[in-house]
Subunit: 441 residues, 2 copies
Amino acid sequence: MDRSAFGEAEPSLEEKREALLALLREVKATSAVLARADHATRQRALAAMADALEADRDEILAANAEDLRLAEETGLDAPRKERLTLNPGRIRAMADGLRALVDLPDPLAPRGEMWTRPNGLLIERVPVPLGVIAIIYESRPNVTADAAGLAIKSGSAVVLRGGREAHHSNAAIAASLQKGLRAAGLPEKTAVVVPWTDRELVEVVLTARGLVDLAIPRGGHGLIQYVVRTAQVPTLETGVGNNHLFVDRSADFAKATRIVVDAKTDRPAVCNALETLLVHREIAEAWLPEAGRALVDAGVELRGCPESVRILRAHGIPVREATEEDWETEYLDLILAVRVVGGLDEALAHIARYGTGHSEAIVAEDRETAEAFLAAVDAAAVYHNASTRFTDGGEFGFGAEMGISTQKLHARGPVGPRELVSYKYVVRGNGQVRGFRAQDR
Amino acid sequence: MDRSAFGEAEPSLEEKREALLALLREVKATSAVLARADHATRQRALAAMADALEADRDEILAANAEDLRLAEETGLDAPRKERLTLNPGRIRAMADGLRALVDLPDPLAPRGEMWTRPNGLLIERVPVPLGVIAIIYESRPNVTADAAGLAIKSGSAVVLRGGREAHHSNAAIAASLQKGLRAAGLPEKTAVVVPWTDRELVEVVLTARGLVDLAIPRGGHGLIQYVVRTAQVPTLETGVGNNHLFVDRSADFAKATRIVVDAKTDRPAVCNALETLLVHREIAEAWLPEAGRALVDAGVELRGCPESVRILRAHGIPVREATEEDWETEYLDLILAVRVVGGLDEALAHIARYGTGHSEAIVAEDRETAEAFLAAVDAAAVYHNASTRFTDGGEFGFGAEMGISTQKLHARGPVGPRELVSYKYVVRGNGQVRGFRAQDR
């Protein structure tokens, strides 16, 4: 906590609010400087930020040790402690992430959208930075560097508010990033960490209309809901993926098994992992035992509808009975819900009811069924004969990403540099007016 | 008010809430039917809606007469009564507006964005409808038809909540539009009016996450602020335009005068009208009297900074002294604030402080100054040597529009059919998986 501005006494919440608003105003003013910076400057800044992170490794690890010591005191659970922990390899990975952004195309480069109107006006639609992006996130300190890098690549300043338990780590990382910004001739207030961790201050950020142009939550369901409900600034909802795989009666069994195992087990804790398997009744007897065996061998716990439970148990495959809650749950764990459905329509209805609009897949050799599925499912990414795990900025060819948007406004799916910009219309004339009265003059 | 579902007694607010939520669920379900409708069907629906409006002219005028009678009772002010009034010409204009949408390009047509990844995945980015769009608006009943038409052109269902004083008119227009939808084979719940006018029900619409995909306020500053602050569904902020014209020292005086008069007087009550004139000090003495005279002749009241007041009064041109409030005000009337500035930087600072990000213009012959202005100003539309009045979907060549977005997310500037859609990624594979474990099998 930065008490310097207030002497030794902890400032009151009201003082912090005022100080934070003043900081946000500074960041907003700073964002205009960054908006005018050319791509080469932004590239230099990213490279310098990466170098600074590596140069400051010991300071960052010391700050992280302090967070881990406090985590010990407060009894933080093991998975969160794991996510909080930094080491030289993770710091190098942050630096490499910043370096990987350098050579991505400039999202602010003109896109050649220009046309002339009959009255001679030349209209151009040009990409422009969003301005100030606020990121509200949880335990992982690497988000501090990743999010700052993406914002700066896209010409926007960034306000970072990470988890309370990672505050020392985040502040140390941000201090290092600011050195990089200064080295590239950019103001250090281009990337700032909210200096206090009071929950009430998140609300200050989320309601700072005119100062914050976009707020992005990165974390679990609770955090995302809090941000979306509280924010008066525009938000980008990311991340929750209650994803389904529908295995049609026309499926190639080997493909189906390979895909279900990959989608569930490759990295179960991420948002593009599979959570529910829907199986066409006509092939359930023939394929489900093979799939169930492969999943159980890969360490997956199965929770099935009565029909799938009957089939699986008949083949000696362990399975629990699923409840309504299972269809609603994004496990983020080695657990898979399984349901036998009558066909495409029932699969679509299940997905429409329980899906979160993230990633949905069908395995089918019948092209018509596959195309009907791809057309009907309302999600950021829909797959035919491929794993849901590909919903990822890198896998789509966008380079890094800020998250996977599950909303329909602005950006859907992977949010890369190209999605983190806005646009404006530049109109060039030679005296054009619209009204008759004025033209008569 | 539709009391039929509840017999004669007025339902309680809680009953209305429940009924409205049930209606929203129906609209959401219906939106999937519309989403699958091809462009020809949507075109037929628009044409049939236009025909129905004209066929039902007498019913609509009778409903409007009832609203006007109630407006008399409640003492509605004259301008609002004027906006509320329908006549055969206005009904024909609504129908023609719908017909004009028919031949606009299909915003859901594929845009050819398709690429193949090294692993063979074929990724396509395809436009998709938003789903359900809610429009919250004020007096003008024509918005009912305009907004419904734009939504349906874009493949989205629409929930309409207009001003209380226009409720009978809006309900009659919607009933007519629904006939058109039925005639084209689309469900009538594709376009619905909220059946009660209680203010509390607006909140039900604005917080219906999962049922409403986008809420758009159309109206004055108060309505827009209410919607943006209350909504938990995504919103598109439209309309407030505190627009500036900066006349540089390099300006062509004749162009400058023509543009300032047009921008202020062509249609002062609309959001792209000019509100503040900024004049470079070096030409203030030479040009301001000419401009002031032309403006006053056109019926404009001037409110100036001390320097402009001195210059104008020296030439016998009437002008009031401006207060801080004048710089902040979107007059929407024949009033213009005038300020003399030291140059480009001072003009930019004024615009950054008081502008609402709508339309900002410079008149200058010096190319470098003009380009610096166009690059630095953060607004939906920036103009060089042209009137701000061109910020309009029709003038930009987009056809109709839902309003002018002043936010940076999703859509900025005129919101036409192309801006009223989302997209999804369709990924076609032949068994691709991401993880090594699964690939090893």
